[in-house]
Amino acid sequence: MAAADDLAFHEFEEATNLLAETPDAATTSRSDQLTSLGHVAVAAGTGSSYGAEDEVESDKTALLQAEKPQPGFWTFSYYQSFFDVDTSQVLDRIKGALLPRPGHNFVRHHLRNRPDLYGPFWICATLAFVLAVTGNLTLVLAQRRDPSIHYSPQFHKVTMAGITIYCYAWLVPLVLWGFLRWRQGVQERVDPYSFLETVCVYGYSLFIFIPMVVLWLIPVPWLQWLFGALALALSTAGLVLTLWPVIREDTRLVAVALLSTVVLLHALLAMGCKISLLSSISSSRCLWSRWHLQPK
């Protein structure tokens, strides 16, 4: 009984503090706080490893969420809440995904309960186009060395690359999220990440593949393997470090199986990128020979 009273008093105090704070937030000309409709469920600072700054911000979003009702999913402002990021925030998230540090969880430290869809969507689009462009360029460079290769702008690669990357970046997080929710039902522990946070983690972790693919233009094989291994290590380290706090209380078997599946799928994606670059040369060679050596 006394504990409940203490809690009630604590909340009221925080609420008055925030009410004093929010008028300042409301009077800024570009009031991003007001447009952010705090759709994510906020852990009210109890039991999760928040710093003091995080607690204030999560409480602020909780208060704003209490002020405005959540818009339905058929309204435009619902989707606008997923794009409520600034340039500096996107760059900060990319940096956090590029250089994962063991102490800083990507979701807690960088996303801070405001996952966005801008990063995952445009990083996937960029990766698809960069793959297609690099495939074209490898073909051009190979043709300069070996004139028997026939050059053609292989446009269907854009479609294939796009479909593969988008499926990976959106379906795998869906499966992962579903699996984590199921495990949470089986064993009571910390709440897992929301679907959008999982999509964010995967989307931003794909960023390292963009420079990796561009650097694969250098036609030195051991250098290509080195870049591939380095990028894959950084990317999967980011993923594993983010997922570890959520599944560390689970049984050993499940934890190891989940992490190894995640790493394996990521490695398969990197392999797929490499194969698509290699196949551009081989397919053009074999098509050229088929076209020109047929009896007419």
């Binding site: 997923f82 990021v85 340039t87 186009f129 446009f155």
Partner: protein, 236 residues
């Protein structure tokens, strides 16, 4: 009856005053001239209705739309801060440009290779769906530009790249070689930069200041892809 009524501010006067006699004391017609014509000039308005676009000759209609499109082309070629593209948006220009570009970029039906350049439909889809995606992106980020205005600007700013395609086609008639490629590369890079400058001149102001880069990057990607398709075009 008119003589019997008393004036309101004058109770002591016995002589009958006409009705509403004291009204002139409080009327304001001397202070503010309220004269004028009551009749609405119907003649000029009916002339406007007569010259509504239904009754004019076909040549007038086409010439008017063509002039509007041409004026916007000029605004794209010499970009300065003006509202013409945004205020009177139309989608004729983007359609003409997209169809021209797609016709020139498609691979011929003669060669049946699977790996070739894009088909007509692929170019069309990339241009229009790319423009729609960029518009949705800028609206979701909080920009205050309308959907069709943004489509109009993005479509019109393909004009420099269409000109680049024409020049590349002409250059490809000459003999192939590295000089050929360098000329085409130079032309495409210049026109790509021109497209980006023209579209950001129109679109950048509609975005919130701390998100301008987020809104401009997809435009950069869009024109980069189109430039890439132009540069890698090889006639069969």
């Amino acid at each position: 009856m008119a003589e019997v009524a008393e004036s309101p501010g004058d109770p002591g006067t016995a002589s009958p005053r006409p009705l509403f006699a004291g009204l002139s004391d409080i009327s304001i017609s001397q202070d503010i001239p309220i004269e004028g014509e009551i009749t609405i000039p119907m003649r000029s308005r009916s002339r406007e209705f007569d010259s509504s676009t239904l009754n004019e000759s076909v040549q007038n209609t086409i010439m008017r739309d063509l002039k509007a499109v041409g004026k916007k082309f000029m605004h794209v070629l010499y970009p300065r801060k003006s509202n013409t593209l945004l205020r009177d948006w139309d989608l004729w220009g983007p359609l003409i440009l997209c169809v021209t570009l797609a016709l020139m970029l498609q691979r011929g039906s003669v060669d049946s290779e699977k790996d070739g350049g894009p088909q007509f439909a692929e170019v069309f889809v990339i241009v229009w769906f790319g423009a729609v995606t960029i518009t949705l992106n800028s609206k979701l980020l909080g920009g205050n530009i309308s959907f069709f205005q943004s489509l109009c600007v993005l479509g019109y700013c393909i004009l420099p790249l269409t000109v680049a395609m024409l020049i590349c086609r002409l250059v490809l008639l000459a003999e192939p070689g590295p000089i050929n490629f360098m000329v085409r590369l130079f032309v495409v890079i210049v026109m790509f930069a021109w497209s980006i400058v023209a579209s950001t001149a129109f679109l950048a102001d509609s975005q919130p200041p701390n998100r301008k880069a987020l809104a401009v990057y997809p435009v950069f990607l869009f024109y980069f892809v189109i430039s890439w398709m132009i540069l890698t075009f090889t006639p069969q």
